[in-house]
């Protein structure tokens, strides 16, 4: 009886626990001559189903935070916990969509690119991987490009493929590092809408890095503001209320100005 009670308590604790916890995370880069501190004692919690945005000017360490969550950058102090377990190395439960287009291996056709992660991480055999990859491609509207090579695609299509290859892995957290920053304004807008549509459909957990206040308000439901040199938490705001419908509204603009003030008037 006591044993089941303890188990129940554990299960309850797990349900209440944030999916991703970042605790007093200090990150440093070692260059040849000196050590650069990227972030200083940053803490935040990401709940399951969140669209959590890290927002700040360049040099606030937001990309470093994302890389650390991905497992590419070990903490100087503090820790990153996923499901309560510390993150120590990169893994397929935290797939990153990068800004750069060369994240897609150029020697693989689009379909194989999407299936590659599943096969490489030994999640499933090649037939099942290709089947799931075809489905994922259809979800991002690229079924007809399955046989193309990445260099034949436009920038927007490449980022769609990158999103498909990440979603097909069904990661615990989807990490996006300024994924639309290299796109033109029109393509960026349509991909932001696409991302929200996919989230409506699949309800994944998203950690999203951007330097655009507008993008943060549109994409996120929760925004962490970081001050630069080194990155420290300036504020955590709710952005639940804002979407494409409300862009340009008075409340949207007011929130935009508030964020601007928080970021630039220290």
């Amino acid at each position: 009886m006591a044993a089941t009670g303890a188990q129940e308590q554990q299960a309850l604790a797990a349900a209440a626990r944030p999916l991703l916890q970042v605790r007093d995370l200090t990150l440093e880069y070692r260059s040849e001559s000196r050590i650069v501190r990227a972030t200083h004692e940053v803490s935040f919690d990401v709940l399951s189903g969140d669209r959590f945005v890290l927002l700040g000017a360049s040099g606030c360490g937001k990309s470093s935070l994302l890389k650390s969550v991905a497992g590419f950058l070990p903490p100087r102090s503090g820790e990153v916990l996923l499901d309560g377990r510390p993150v120590t190395e990169p893994g397929p439960d935290r797939v990153v969509v990068f800004q750069e287009f060369d994240q897609l291996p150029p020697w693989k056709r689009v379909l194989d690119n999407v299936a590659f992660g599943l096969i490489a991480s030994r999640q499933c055999g090649s037939d099942e991987a290709r089947e799931r990859a075809a489905q994922a491609l259809a979800t991002v509207g690229l079924a007809q490009a399955a046989d193309a090579y990445p260099h034949q695609l436009s920038g927007g299509m490449k980022q769609r493929v990158a999103i498909a290859r990440a979603l097909v892995m069904r990661p615990r957290v989807l990490l996006m590092d300024e994924p639309f920053a290299a796109l033109d304004a029109l393509t960026r807008r349509s991909l932001q809408e696409e991302l929200l549509r996919l989230w409506q459909e699949l309800r994944f957990t998203l950690l999203f890095v951007t330097h655009s206040i507008e993008e943060a308000l549109l994409v996120g439901n929760r925004i962490l503001l970081l001050s630069p040199h080194p990155g420290r938490v300036r504020a955590e705001l709710d952005a639940q209320a804002f979407g494409f419908g409300s862009a340009g509204s008075a409340a949207f603009q007011a929130q935009q100005q508030r964020i601007h003030r928080l970021l630039f008037e220290l």
Partner: protein, 287 residues
């Protein structure tokens, strides 16, 4: 006072476009001339004609036989199997050395990209041996391995190993950081990481290293065979050239030289160009 015409706004319905007009096909002769191969053949024919004319003007078969005479010698030795046998000897040696050198080069550069000491060793070794023509090691090789295939293979390995290792390593180092992270993101590590990410991503550099290695090895082999080649009575193409000169059969010297050129060219065109077309060009990694 500024004066501006009022410009009304407008919107338009766009009707579907008419079917595109068919482009007139290029004239057949013109299309033929567009091909690099065709123009090169024309240049070759001109050179052969100039050679023939020069030979007739000189009128000395011993020093400069004409193109036709050399072609005849080449054709007759090809038909009686002599040239084919010699080429076979040369190529089989070459392939042994090339395969061994390639395997060593890939292993060394994989070690070099994985570990710091590996990189130090490789960089030091390549800077030592790369400037040294492999053929210069032949006297030493003869001392160590005797008059035989072993010496030739040793020299060939040297000809392939260093240039290939150098370009493979620089190819590995040039793999974009994002692609590396994407690979590690999938949990790839160790040998699988090297084979599934680094090798294909560095393929343009590896292929150009293989090309250079091939050219070095082919030259080194012919040079080494000129040195000695009569091991167990079976010489290769270099030995054929050397022997023909000894017998003052200058037309056969030219036939041997032509065969050396032809094989080098065939491998470049047929093997390397095809591999590049099917891989790196198709993937948009090289134009």
């Amino acid at each position: 006072m500024s004066y501006v015409h009022p410009r009304p706004e407008f919107e338009r319905e766009l009707p579907p476009l008419p079917a595109p007009s068919v482009e007139a096909p290029l004239h057949a002769a013109r299309r033929l001339w567009q091909r690099d191969g065709v123009r090169q053949v024309v240049v070759l024919v001109l050179i052969a004609a100039a050679w023939e004319l020069a030979a007739r003007w000189a009128g000395n078969d011993l020093l400069l036989p004409g193109f036709l005479q050399a072609a005849q010698a080449w054709w007759s030795d090809l038909r009686n199997g002599e040239l084919l046998a010699r080429t076979g000897v040369s190529l089989s040696l070459l392939l042994q050395g090339y395969a061994l050198g390639t395997a060593l080069a890939l292993t060394l550069s994989a070690l070099a990209v994985a570990t710091r000491p590996g990189r130090d060793v490789l960089v030091t070794l390549t800077s030592l041996f790369n400037p040294l023509p492999a053929i210069a090691l032949l006297p030493l090789a003869l001392l160590w391995f005797g008059l035989g295939q072993g010496s030739l293979v040793f020299v060939l390995v040297h000809a392939v190993l260093w240039p290939l290792a150098l370009s493979t390593l620089s190819g590995f180092q040039g793999v974009p950081e994002t692609l590396r992270m994407a690979g590690r993101n999938y949990g790839l590590r160790g040998l699988r990481y090297v084979l599934l990410i680094l090798v294909p991503a560095a393929l343009p550099a590896i292929l150009s290293g293989l090309r250079i290695g091939w050219a070095f090895a082919w030259r080194t082999l012919i040079a080494a065979e000129l040195f000695f080649g009569a091991s167990s009575g079976r010489g290769g193409l270099g030995w054929y050239i050397f022997q023909s000169r000894n017998e003052l059969l200058t037309d056969r010297v030219f036939a041997g030289l032509a065969t050396v050129v032809l094989i080098g060219w065939l491998v470049e065109r047929c093997v390397f160009d095809t591999v590049e077309r099917l891989t790196v060009r198709r993937w948009g990694m090289q134009r």
